[in-house]
Amino acid sequence: MAGTQYRGSEIKNVDQFIDDSAGLSSEREKEIGQHIGYRYDVNLVPDYKVITPFLSKYMEIMGWDDLNWLEDVHMGYEDGKPAVFDRNINGWVRVPDEIELPDNQQDRDMIARELLVKFQMSDRHPLVTLRKAYMKF
C-alpha cells in the first residue's frame, strides 16, 4: 500500500496563510517554489453551533436540513489575503478588508459561505453576464 506520509502543509494556526503567504514549509515546496495543497483544510466539517441567521434562512428556503453544498466552502487564503474559492467562476474572490475576521476557522467559514451565496445570487456575478452572452433565446 503506497503512501502513509502527509505531503501537504500542516496548518498550525488560523492565520498561518496570512502571516506566511508563500507557505513553503516542506523541502519539496521549497524545491518547486510552490505551495502544495489547498490553503485551508478541505475536510473540515462545519460546526452548526456557529451558523449565521442568513445561512439558516437559506437552508429553510431551499428546503435543506443542513448546509448542503456549502459544507465544502471554507475561507481560504490567496497571496496572504482571505478569500473564498467560487467554483462557478473557477477563481478566488477576496474578502474586503473592512470585514473583521474572527479568531477561529469555523466562524470564518460561516462568513465565507454567507459572502459566497450573496455574491453568486447577485447581478454582479460573472455568470450573469456569461449567461446573457451565451444563452439560447
Binding site: 453544498w69 450573496k118 452572452a133
Partner: protein, 289 residues
C-alpha cells in the same frame, strides 16, 4: 452593460452579444479573478434568473407517452408557472430525466430512471422511488437526491456538491472524480469507488469492492463493512469524534444509521503521494506506480 436590454441581445448573433457585453476585453492573467465581495450585498437566496416557485404548489406529470426532452421541457414549464412540487409518474426508465434543474424544486419521480438521471442539477430536492441507471447525479452542484432502491455504475460521477443518497447498493466507480458533496450508500459499492476523488465525502454502509479510493487526491471515504482492497495512494486514517458526529448527523437525516451505530466505520483518505507530478521526480513516480 446594464443598458443593453434582452430584446437588443436577442437581435444579435452570439459573437455580437459577447462583444457587446465586453467579454472579449477581459485580461485573464494569473489564477485570480481579482474580484472582491461586496460587504453590503443584499440578502438574496436564489439565482437572478431562477423562477419563483412555491413548494406548496403541486402538480403531476404522466410521462408515459413522452420523450425525455418533452418531460424536461414540461418540468421547466411548470417551474416557470411557480410549481414547487412536481410528481413525475411512469418514467419507465427514460434516460436523462430531470437534468439541468438550476433552482429549488421538490421533484418526486415515481418509478425508475435510465442513465444520466438528474444530472447537472443545482438546488432541487429529488426523490426517486425506483432504481436508477448509470451516472445518476453526475456533475450535481447542490440539492439532495434520494434513491430508494439500487443505482448503476458511476453513481455521482464528478459531483461538486449536495447530497446524493442511495438506500440500496450501487455499481462500480461510484463518485469517480468527485470534487465535493456527499455520497451516501446504504448497501455495497463496486470496484474503483472514489477513483480520482478530489474532495467531498463518501459513506458506504455496506462493503466496498476492489481498489477503493484509487488515485484519490483528497476527500474522505467512510466504509461500514469490509473493503476488498484499497487503491493506489488510499490510506486508512483515524476516525475522530468530529467524523462520528458528522456521520451520525448525516445518516440520521436520511434514516440510514446502522443498528450498531457508526463507531465501526473505517475512514480512508489520500496518502498524497500522487500530488504535483512533474519532471523533477521521475524516481518517485516509479516507486508509486
Amino acid at each position: 452593460m446594464a443598458s443593453i436590454s434582452d430584446s437588443d441581445l436577442k437581435e444579435m448573433t452570439q459573437d455580437e452579444r459577447v462583444k457587446a457585453l465586453g467579454m472579449t476585453s477581459e485580461q485573464l492573467t494569473g489564477r485570480s479573478m481579482f474580484m472582491e465581495f461586496d460587504a453590503d450585498a443584499s440578502d438574496r437566496f436564489l439565482y437572478p434568473w431562477a423562477p419563483e416557485v412555491d413548494f406548496n404548489k403541486r402538480i403531476e406529470i404522466d410521462s408515459d407517452q413522452m420523450t425525455s426532452t418533452e418531460v424536461n421541457e414540461e418540468i421547466k414549464k411548470f417551474m416557470d408557472q411557480g410549481y414547487g412540487t412536481i410528481v413525475l409518474k411512469n418514467p419507465r426508465g427514460k434516460h436523462s430525466i430531470g437534468v439541468g434543474i438550476l433552482s429549488k424544486l421538490n421533484l418526486i419521480i415515481e418509478g425508475s430512471t435510465g442513465y444520466f438521471g438528474v444530472g447537472l442539477i443545482d438546488g432541487p430536492n429529488v426523490r426517486i422511488t425506483g432504481r436508477v441507471g448509470w451516472s445518476c447525479g453526475e456533475n450535481m452542484m447542490s440539492g439532495t437526491v434520494l434513491i430508494e432502491k439500487n443505482a448503476g455504475s458511476t453513481f455521482g460521477a464528478a459531483i461538486r456538491g449536495g447530497d446524493l443518497v442511495c438506500r440500496g447498493s450501487v455499481g462500480s466507480r461510484t463518485g469517480i472524480d468527485m470534487k465535493g458533496g456527499t455520497i451516501l450508500v446504504g448497501g455495497d459499492t463496486g470496484a474503483l469507488s472514489g477513483f480520482m476523488m478530489q474532495r467531498g465525502r463518501m459513506v458506504v454502509c455496506g462493503n466496498a469492492g476492489k481498489n477503493l479510493g484509487d488515485s484519490m487526491y483528497d476527500g474522505t471515504i467512510y466504509v461500514g463493512g469490509e473493503i476488498k482492497s484499497l487503491g493506489v495512494d488510499a490510506v486508512p486514517a483515524e476516525l475522530t469524534d468530529l467524523d462520528k458526529n458528522w456521520l451520525t448527523r448525516k445518516l440520521t437525516q436520511y434514516g440510514m444509521v446502522p443498528t450498531k451505530g457508526v463507531n465501526h466505520f473505517q475512514k480512508i483518505v489520500a496518502g498524497k503521494m500522487l500530488w504535483n507530478y512533474d519532471n523533477l521526480e521521475p524516481s518517485e513516480k516509479k516507486l508509486i506506480l
